[in-house]
Amino acid sequence: MSLIKDLFTNWSVWRRPGYFESFDYSWGMVIDLDRCTGCEACVVACTAENNLPIVGEKRFSENREIKWIRIERYWSGEYPNAKLSFIPMLCQHCDQAPCEIACPVSATYHNQDGLNTQIYNRCIGTRTCAVYCPYEVRFFNWFSYTWDAPLEQQLNPDVTVREKGVMEKCTFCIQRIREAKDHAKDDGRRRLREGDIQPACAQACPTKAIVFGDRNDPDSQVAQMASDARGYTVLKELNTSPSIVYLRRVDQEHV
């Protein structure tokens, strides 16, 4: 009953979109494409951190690979003026994520940290979220994957190994965020500080092209870099409000 009362007294609140602006943190990334060299260290780092399976050649050839972060490559021009551009593509943690609405069992939703979550054990595998995702960064466990012994000893105990039929995707290394919060609490801090957290990709990046931080904090590096003139978000016309801002690669034709 109190719930019904609550519903009516707070009717306008429940009806107000855009609640995420009041979230504790709003984790975001800035990826400087002028620094990114496409070396793919981030890809392996992510694989190692998040227990991504080794799917094998056959399944890879069927497009069943699982790479939470991948490097997309786009050519422009013809030989000899050909140009190749790289762009790391990972879950954009959209504030208005098309995927979240799709899940019938709320396995994916937006949490207090402004993260687009994926709760593996809740997933029933309708794959709707992946269809709705314009960035193609959600991956499905078409099979239960195994590791040749003793490779399984490397698996990160902080991350669940997903079974067949489960959707997965970049979590911004939630296990690291959780650990950092835990340490902050141990130190008696309420809030995390800039630099407490680095996702595996950002940490591995040899050129430091990936910067991670809290977009809610105006002094943070991400917040400042996001306002760079080169900043843009991919597929902005879809109005998904991604948490990842890319800094355009500088085209310097006249050297």
């Binding site: 939703y109 207090q112 993260l115 709760i119 054990n121 991350v159 669940t160 939630i174 835990d182």
Partner: protein, 179 residues
């Protein structure tokens, strides 16, 4: 001539009774298993009694479960820890002799996990101990249990209910407990 359902239903009586008996037998078998082999209180390799240790001698939980305040796991005491006392105490008891055998053969005791959370659950003992949640809240009155028994359902609703009651920060966020 007359018509109704009852007469027809009567024809199915033997079938219904047979199905009923079968179902009852099935349920009885199920219940019997739960009664004779309770999953909540399995038989341990050594009849370790918390009544003696935690109850009678009032040994603090964290004296043996040493990691509880520091780590996600509370930690089962190493065999060395047990032997710390039982080299001298109660060495004549058969259960202690079992312990001594493990110690002498340098083997770990294969305790059976009673409070077994699913692999996708992240449960830090540390946070709960530091928040001064009594061990008994989740583990029951351990000091009165001769054999450890799972009292709490350890279901999600139960966890979240407590989080709610205590107004835990982000206590309802899935990623607080799932990994």
């Amino acid at each position: 001539m007359s018509v109704s359902v009852r007469e027809a239903l009567g024809a199915f009586k033997p079938a219904a009774i047979a199905v009923g008996i079968a179902l009852a037998a099935y349920i009885a078998g199920w219940v019997a298993y739960e009664v004779f082999f309770p999953g909540t209180a399995p038989v341990q390799p050594i009849e370790f009694s918390h009544v003696i240790h935690a109850g009678d001698y009032q040994i603090d939980c964290q004296y043996c479960h040493i990691y509880a305040a520091r780590s996600t796991t509370a930690g089962v005491p190493a065999v060395e820890k047990c032997m710390g006392c039982h080299k001298v105490i109660a060495t004549d008891k058969p259960e202690i002799q079992k312990l001594t055998d493990y110690w002498n053969s340098r083997q770990a005791i294969p305790w059976i996990k009673v409070h077994d959370l699913a692999d996708f659950v992240y449960f830090p003992h540390k946070r709960h101990v530091q928040a001064e949640v009594a061990c008994q809240t989740c583990h029951g009155e351990v000091q009165t249990m001769a054999r450890i028994e799972r009292v709490a359902p350890l279901s999600m609703k139960w966890c979240v209910g407590c989080h709610e009651e205590r107004e835990v920060e982000n206590g309802r966020d899935c990623w607080t407990c799932h990994k």
